[in-house]
């Protein structure tokens, strides 16, 4: 029947005249997906070298805990990878602040956990239980006061210190915004990734204008390229950027 020779009906065999065309379409479809897969893969930016450093082993340090603006430890007795004199940001598991820290503010503590590292950004992730965080014997020693470095206007990105340190690769950018907000509201230290180094540092711990956590209105600007003004101070070897949220601008 001539009509059936030329006309496709799904429940009949494919008409002979259509077979080469359909074979070519199937091959073209497979080729299209292969080429598109390669093309899309090649547009993926390689993340910076960063992440959990399980290869360093467990790090145990002693130091003074501070919860403002976010949990940090000013190390007085260091470990192999975290020397005395360092000021290291702390996080708990997942998108949480370290557990059981409220009663230990400004006290000498022992802390143990795993390092996350990206460039000059270090964070110590500590788990629950006294093994990982507990009060140490003795009083907290007197530490050097913050050094004020004046008012600055910086350009860069607000993100959470944990993902920025390599808990996720990439841990920055607009597609990561919701995650960054969750981390910051969960108590993970917020950091400013400066477009240009400030006093040698690319990552600055962020604070609100009064030295507390980042104000909620700043969350609208996370993960985007922004400019913001504020006061910078040095605490140990860590720069803290106390932003004026009224000056936040998306660029």
């Amino acid at each position: 029947m001539r009509a059936r020779d030329e006309f496709f009906i799904g429940f009949f065999p494919i008409p002979p005249g259509l077979r080469p065309f359909l074979a070519a379409i199937a091959a073209a479809l497979i080729l299209l997906f292969a080429v598109a897969g390669w093309f899309a893969a090649s547009t993926q930016a390689a993340p910076d070298e960063a992440g959990f450093r399980f290869d360093f082993g467990r790090q145990e340090v002693t130091g003074v805990l501070s919860l403002h603006p976010y949990p940090v430890i000013r190390v007085t007795e260091g470990s192999e990878r975290l020397a005395a004199g360092r000021t290291v940001m702390l996080s708990g598991g997942g998108k949480f602040a370290p557990p059981q820290v409220a009663a230990l503010d400004r006290r000498l503590v022992k802390a143990g956990g795993v390092i996350l590292r990206r460039g000059d950004l270090d964070m110590l992730q500590i788990g629950g239980g006294e093994r990982n965080l507990s009060a140490a014997e003795g009083d907290a020693p007197a530490l050097s006061p913050p050094e004020r470095l004046g008012r600055w206007r910086l350009e860069g990105e607000i993100c959470d210190g944990k993902c920025a340190a390599g808990a996720m690769r990439p841990g920055r950018g607009l597609s990561h915004k919701a995650c960054a907000n969750l981390c910051i509201t969960g108590g993970v230290p917020a950091v400013f990734v400066s477009a240009a180094p400030i006093e040698g540092a690319t990552f600055l711990l962020m604070a609100g204008p009064e030295g507390g956590p980042l104000p909620p209105e700043a969350l609208a600007f996370t993960a985007a390229y922004v400019s913001v003004e504020g006061e910078i101070e040095r605490i140990g070897d860590l720069l803290v950027f106390r932003i004026d949220p009224a000056t936040l601008r998306a660029l």
Partner: protein
């Protein structure tokens, strides 16, 4: 065609269609996830759940784009009609790939949080007042919901249960869903890649989809609807044996005038199944056969052959001054009409 609901009416063509699709999708994902990073020499790999989410998400977008090209391509060139025949399997597979993308994202970014995961998904970013940082996840959720609804209702049971008119209207959701995916990708993933190549690819595909629809619309628009009770169609010799001439009638209806064994009959151009263009079909074994899914109707009464029960309206024809004319007043579906004898 079936008189009962069967989960899937498999045939050889559907198996080959799905095999080609599975090969294409599998190849895309393997190249994106495995081959790409190895050949590109990424020293510090993208975290696997994020990488997988990107692979499945971008693949779903490509699949949606191809699906939306099939309809207009089939209108522009009838050789593409076989791609339309099994398009619903393509759609279901796309919904599954998109769901995989969602699960990778949801179970990575929105877990281990102080908020319940669904609350975190919906409220962790509420910057709806700005383009940079807009909660693009909302577009993705809308598109995924639409794809899942379309996949769940793709079976002919739902076509019959909802009626073809409502089913067809529901399945137009694919267009807002596609627009939402373009916005989702543009405001999200496209912001985190190197250079402009990826967003350029996304928009090139979207513009190609739009362009093909425009071209098909321009082709179909055709002549203006003819007015009056009796409408001229064409000279008898202009219709090939087993084929039809489609005519637009007042009120937007279309009728297809078929030539079968030298005689002429007219039925509605809209298939009772999914409104497929019967006039682009053929007469096979005495039945007009829809080019989309093979539904059949007798030429002289618009009824599907037993045991099937579908019916379409018929039209009366007459010959005046060497021209076939059609009565614009449609007969009720399934009304027998004496075929018009061809002039000798």
């Amino acid at each position: 065609m079936s008189v009962s609901y069967i989960p899937v009416q498999w045939n050889g063509f559907k198996h080959r269609y799905n095999l080609a699709l599975a090969l294409a999708v599998g190849l895309y994902l393997w190249i994106f996830v495995e081959l790409g990073p190895a050949l590109l020499g990424h020293a510090s790999p993208i975290t696997p759940p994020i990488h997988n989410a990107r692979a499945f998400g971008s693949c779903a977008f490509l699949m949606m784009s191809v699906i939306l090209m099939i309809g207009p391509l089939a209108r522009l060139d009838g050789r593409f009609l076989p791609l339309l025949y099994n398009r619903r399997h393509f759609g279901v597979m796309t919904a599954l790939v998109a769901l995989s993308h969602f699960l990778f994202v949801f179970n990575w970014y929105f877990v281990f949080t102080p908020l319940p995961s669904w609350e975190a998904l919906l409220f962790s970013n509420t910057a709806y007042d700005r383009a940079l940082g807009f909660p693009f996840e909302a577009f993705g959720m809308f598109a995924l919901l639409a794809l899942l609804i379309l996949a769940a209702t793709s079976h002919d049971f739902w076509l019959s249960f909802l009626t073809p008119r409502i089913w067809k209207s529901l399945h137009y959701l694919i267009y807002p869903a596609y627009a939402a995916v373009v916005a989702h990708v543009t405001l999200g993933a496209a912001q985190g890649v190197r250079g402009l190549a990826f967003p350029a690819l996304v928009w090139a595909l979207a513009l190609l989809v739009a362009g093909l629809h425009l071209a098909a619309w321009r082709k179909e628009r055709g002549a203006a609807a003819a007015m009056g009770e009796w409408v001229p169609v064409c000279r008898p010799e202009e219709i090939e044996e087993g084929r039809a001439r489609v005519v637009r009638l007042a009120g937007g209806e279309r009728a297809a005038v078929f030539r079968h064994e030298g005689r002429f009959s007219a039925i509605s151009n809209a298939c009772a199944h999914q409104n497929g263009p019967l006039g682009e079909g053929r007469v096979v074994d005495g039945c007009v056969t829809c080019p989309w899914h093979g539904f059949q109707y007798r030429v002289d009464d618009g009824c599907s052959p037993a045991p099937f029960t579908e019916k379409v309206p018929t039209y009366r024809l007459r010959l005046r001054a060497g021209l076939i004319e059609i009565d614009a007043r449609a007969n009720p579906p399934g009304t027998p009409v004496q075929p018009l004898e061809a002039p000798r």
